[in-house]
């Protein structure tokens, strides 16, 4: 695939990734276990913008993704263009806004311990270590999403469960996790070989 097609023609996957993270977070009560990195808690908070072509729903609040308006937007076919997120691992908390179309992060707050007056190289290394830690987690989550998205299970099982969730029904979380784990177990098996 040419680079332009790869970039422009697959932007929709970013929006699907954000809605999957949202679904995944709700199905697992925020406790995520991305492949190859440590578990973490992750949820959407404060603001989310959902779009379908030129129609836009911009929602704010403590947890706007839990609001009826957010699910209504999904039912209208809108998907998140950007969403503010919080990730907690141990005593570290990261907050940022994920831009779905580029996977770019904005307004990322890092849980730094050092102060700006500390030794400048140490301040830099701490920030990069934290940034790369978050990068690794998001990359692992994205890789899990891609494995699931490109499997037959997406159309057969995951998408119907996500639709059911968007429509206010109570999807079978155990069935979802079993499907996801089966798909990712194949991936992990390949990685081990």
């Amino acid at each position: 695939m040419e680079l332009l097609d790869l970039v422009e023609g697959r932007r929709f996957m970013g929006r699907e990734f954000v809605v999957w993270l949202w679904f995944e977070s709700e199905m697992q009560e925020t406790n995520l276990r991305p492949t190859g990195v440590d578990p973490c808690s992750l949820w959407l908070e404060a603001q989310i913008t959902l779009v379908l072509e030129k129609e836009e729903s911009r929602l704010k609040g403590a947890i706007p993704a839990s609001s009826p308006e957010a699910k209504e937007a999904l039912r209208q076919g809108k998907l998140p263009r950007e969403a503010k997120m919080r990730l907690v691992r141990g005593d570290r908390e990261f907050v940022w806004t994920l831009k779905a179309d580029t996977l770019g992060l904005s307004g990322l707050k890092l849980p730094t311990q050092l102060k700006k007056d500390d030794e400048k190289h140490e301040v830099f290394y701490e920030r990069m270590m934290l940034l790369e830690d978050l990068d690794a987690t998001l990359s692992a989550l994205y890789a899990d999403f891609v494995q699931l998205r490109l499997s037959d299970a997406w159309d057969d099982e995951v998408e119907p469960l996500m639709k059911s969730w968007a429509h206010g029904e109570k999807p079978d979380a155990d069935a979802y996790l079993a499907t996801k784990n089966a798909v990712l177990a194949v991936k992990r098996g390949k990685r081990k070989r």
Partner: protein, 208 residues
């Protein structure tokens, strides 16, 4: 936008191409050759850009210690721009036009004369002003060959892309949902599924 303080806003790029093993040893000369050069009031261009010290963008005398932090290449893209306030330019232009008309005994200036006069006024005003300075940090991790560039503005990332390629003779692939998916490492079946992928909607058909 800084990597060193405050909250972070960035775009990621993957470095591709024939990446030398010894980046510090082979690229410092080219980095220095592409360091920021100060704007002159006499220049035709209204902006200029180049590399600067990430810790102090006023410093463009780059050496090993300022650029290479262990496995990281750290630079700032410095972008200076002559920014003459519109009303100031308009007022000076009006006065200059009036003076020229009186001097030549004319009622109206031609298009070329107006353009020449504007160039002269702009250069004169530039001598009384300091260009605006902005800088955007870049951190390239040589272990993973991933670059964090601390801006998402299209124009700025385009300047960065040009300067990076010119300096390092390497390509940059922007991170995006598509390029990130490809980097996951797809097998043949997944690659075929990826090529034919259609967007998901959570709307049910009967709801339109």
């Amino acid at each position: 936008m800084s990597a060193l303080r405050g909250s972070l806003t960035f775009a990621r790029f993957y470095v591709t191409g024939d990446i030398p093993d010894d980046i510090p040893g082979t690229t410092l000369k080219r980095i220095r050759a592409n360091a920021f050069q100060p704007l002159s009031p006499e220049d035709d261009k209204s902006e200029g850009f180049g590399w600067a010290n990430m810790e102090d963008p006023v410093d463009t005398d780059l050496d090993h210690e300022k650029v290479f932090y262990n496995e990281y290449v750290c630079l700032a893209l410095r972008l200076d721009r002559w920014a003459i306030p519109g009303p100031l330019l308009k007022a000076h232009l009006r006065d200059a036009e009036q003076a020229l008309l009186e001097k030549r005994g004319l009622e109206k200036l031609g298009r070329q004369a107006k353009a020449d006069l504007k160039t002269m006024v702009v250069r004169k005003l530039r001598k009384q002003l300091v260009p605006s300075l902005k800088s955007y940090d870049m951190v390239w991790n040589l272990n993973g060959n991933v670059v964090h560039f601390f801006s998402q503005a299209e124009k700025i990332t385009s300047l960065f892309d040009d300067l990076f390629k010119k300096t390092f003779k390497l390509d940059l692939v922007p991170e995006s949902p598509g390029t990130a998916a490809e980097r996951v490492g797809l097998d043949a079946r997944q690659a075929a599924a990826f090529a034919g992928l259609e967007p998901t909607t959570l709307a049910r058909l009967e709801e339109g």
